[in-house]
Symmetry: C2
Subunit: 243 residues, 2 copies
């Protein structure tokens, strides 16, 4: 597609904006490198910036008062955060942190707010992304309720794979356990299952996807629906799907 190079953005949302909209805030976009585990947003803290990712993966996590936590969504170059900003809300109960290091453009919340209210086209697109992320959340809730750990892990690896260049996802078991809200040894066991079926290759700190189609089959109905919906809403295909 010509407009990839035209705009130079890797971010799917920014790429889909017409030039006339982009010029409104392009100069306010600040490119930054976000290191792993950097906290982009803390619960109930007003957010100074919104982030559009060019690479890497961010993770939206909800925490209960007693300290239990679960991931509810992941964001890569397919999107931005926080979506609360799109809805005109200054702070939310989520914490967002970088799961895999990457680059992002950030923009002051105040500028984003102004652009959203001035430019219908920008608002429409970002609102549609907000819906896409809500759908992702919904399927996460479903998965948490009805799927087994190995299926959820497969789903999660696929979602990361969609947002990464290449086959490697560099994360520790401990970290994945937090994301899936399960015990760490359960992740080890589940990874062994996937590895035994030659769907992935797992070594210290890294999971490599070896057979994506097989992984999708293994995940059964845990994976796929919200990716289709993303495609429908944003008009861009998510990741490296082979189906």
């Amino acid at each position: 597609m010509a407009d990839v190079w035209q705009s130079g953005f890797q971010n799917y949302l920014l790429r889909r904006l017409p030039q006339t909209s982009l010029v409104r805030f392009e100069t306010y976009l600040e490119r930054i490198e976000v290191p792993r585990s950097h906290q982009l947003s803390s619960p109930h803290q007003p957010m100074e910036h919104a982030y559009f990712f060019e690479s890497g993966i961010a993770s939206v996590v909800i925490r209960s008062p007693e300290g239990q936590h679960s991931e509810i969504g992941i964001i890569g170059r397919d999107g931005m955060c926080p979506t609360a900003a799109i809805l005109g809300v200054d702070a939310d109960p989520f914490s967002i942190h970088m799961q895999m290091q990457g680059d992002a453009y950030r923009i002051p919340s105040s500028v984003l707010k102004a652009v959203l209210s001035e430019d219908r086209e920008v608002h429409t697109l970002f609102a549609r992304y907000t819906q896409a992320l809500a759908v992702q959340q919904a399927y996460t809730a479903l998965s948490n309720a009805v799927h087994h750990i190995d299926e959820r892990l497969a789903r999660w690896i696929l979602m990361c794979h969609d947002r990464v260049d290449g086959e490697d996802i560099s994360l520790t078991h401990e970290f994945m356990a937090v994301m899936l809200a399960v015990r760490r040894p359960s992740v080890t066991t589940a990874l062994h299952v996937l590895e035994g079926k030659k769907l992935i290759y797992s070594e210290r700190g890294v999971v490599s996807v070896r057979n994506r189609t097989g992984l999708e089959a293994f995940a059964r109905d845990a994976y796929g629906e919200c990716e289709k919906e993303y495609g429908r809403l944003i008009g861009a295909s998510l990741g490296q799907s082979t189906t």
Copy 2:
């Protein structure tokens, strides 16, 4: 509060709108009675109307291709549906149906869309509600992942209680099992636990809240956070909380 009678609406969102905004679409509001288990919206079907509830409870459910399902949100006089309409999306993957019979005002989607783009105040409020519902979804996902069935049941009863007049919630075990995505006998057992602690009274087709404070204590961190956030976002207190 004086403005309750001024507007005559029970719906918290409609009540919070200034008169100047209400007049824009008041005449398009059609009051209807929605019977139990009536389907307000089906997956991937464009929605003709948006609903603002005066009483009763609607339930947002997500379904996987293989037929697994889980409730991700409930809506009473605290809100409206579908929120996709607020985000400018014509259809979503959810199915929304009436859980407890009640009254609602409905408005054609096209009219809502027009009002949203013309009236900043309306848009702001409804967008904040969209965020509130997203937060509810997020806590549901967390609860599905980390809480035990009896805690989740307690949470769910409290959320229904918030949206109902009186202490009775009329639903079968079968139905609650679907909502919580668990086995029907598990609901029976969990209800017995709550009844044993004198927190509820349960008979055929009805659950009555007997000790709300106790229920909240039993639910621990499963209940409360998203209700607080609703209060902060909408400026109205949800339900009959005694805390």
